[in-house]
Symmetry: C2
Subunit: 325 residues, 2 copies
Amino acid sequence: MNTTDQQSVCFNDIRQAASRIQDYVLTTPAVPAETLSRSVGADLFFKCENLQHIGAFKARGACNAVLQLTDEQAAAGVVTHSSGNHAAALARAARTRGIAAHIVMPHNSSAAKIAAVRGLGVEPRFCEPTAAARAEMADQVAAETGATLVHPYNDPHIIAGQGTATLEFLQQVTDLDVLVVPVGGGGLASGALIAARALQPDLEVIGAEPAWADDAIRSLKAGSMQPPERFDSIADGLRAPLGSLTYPIISQLIDDILPVSEDMIREATRQSICQTRLVVEPSGAVPLGAVLANGSRFAGRRVGLIISGGNAELDVFARILSSSE
Amino acid sequence: MNTTDQQSVCFNDIRQAASRIQDYVLTTPAVPAETLSRSVGADLFFKCENLQHIGAFKARGACNAVLQLTDEQAAAGVVTHSSGNHAAALARAARTRGIAAHIVMPHNSSAAKIAAVRGLGVEPRFCEPTAAARAEMADQVAAETGATLVHPYNDPHIIAGQGTATLEFLQQVTDLDVLVVPVGGGGLASGALIAARALQPDLEVIGAEPAWADDAIRSLKAGSMQPPERFDSIADGLRAPLGSLTYPIISQLIDDILPVSEDMIREATRQSICQTRLVVEPSGAVPLGAVLANGSRFAGRRVGLIISGGNAELDVFARILSSSE
């Protein structure tokens, strides 16, 4: 499978993004997971985007988007709607450039997510918790202020920025046999695929998607974008459907996407915390869940897992930890 | 303050240890903590020994000790008594050299600690949970098997091995103003002091000790080794008293030792987990607790914290997380 000319993003965009954002994001560690490797029978390496600024890879794409605004665009600020990590990522990226960020959040967003945005000096604008209400308020803010809308994943600058995580990872750990990436809206996975196909064409790239948010699996099977059917996976960062830019990249370049059950997502979150001492949010543990549930497929191989983020309510972690054994 | 000739370990021992153990331990990441830095008003850097193999810096010293055994000594194996991270560290170090490890553990050791040792292929020998019973059984095993006793901290090879964490840290993050290290038995702190005084003599080095396990603070004040008064700090890795080798190093080289309350240890554990996405055991969070409790002392400075480990029972983390706010 090769990159095709239909794609909105090419490897050079990722390389340029890496140099553009390097002073604003961390080169996150790639850590071998010795104990888990022994129990799985494979060599596992964790790319720790949970240790990225704001606790998620989203810092990369948001910086790449904000840094490419013209001065005129920048003066009018940026706007997005998000209940998750993209909200904090865009607020932080705007802060690094000294421009305004307008963040529309559902009024039932978690206290921690709201506090993260406020901690970056931005007072969120609250809306009803529906997709329509969020988009409507964001459009309204854009119209009033002239701010540039920065979509959480369906944007070439965002995809290129997220691809820098994989660019780094493949430089840090050579000779991986397989890379496992979480699939939600598809920004991270798209960037990973473009980087991997350019740097190491024989690398198997496997997506991992909650079985309760399996629109990508169904879309690839159907050959066309399929809507989400439910929105209640504990992996809240992966509930969003693929977008018009990410669907073609993923459908053309990915080797496979594995569904991961809710129980296995919890188990992988627990094992990440107690075996690798990394705080991984449920969405970030989905790749490990795919490995744990499909051991024979990964046995004896060098497996890279992108740990997308580490933000969840403390009580989510407390419940997952106290329900063990 | 300079290194004196009374010391059992010199900087060259640490440099040699680093090269001896480099294929057996991780170069752990040193991560800037952006959000915590903003709230504290200082630049905080975490040296992530919780991401070390077996989840603690103890892997370093144990490897350094085991790799220095003669072939004849090695053939008879090693023995220690430990209810904590040193048990797993020595079991792992022995495994890497292919020799026997005899691990004496109190029968009331936590299930996770026992499982960690078993996971490394060693069946612990259980004893009564008293210091006398532990030492007696370890001595007995040594007499029966000829195994070499490897003390968790009062051993020059262990101190030199632990010093490699600071050697790495000061190479990874230059221009630190102050380094904060946890103080328990003093192996990690002694190694840190010897490395720091050699590499960066003007670096302030501050110890952090649970107020409920403050024998080092009392010993420095009294000018002689003082016994522990209680053994119930949540920071279980720091309950041990200084040893005959670590007391002189620490008393001669350290700038200050700050006591940290139990509440502040819990708060620092919680903040590490939710603000830096690192699983830090209570003992490993004591340096952050010292910074949080003494903000003005660290304000505006570049502060390095050695995060010593990330192993605790899941229910300890669950309780700490669910008791927030």
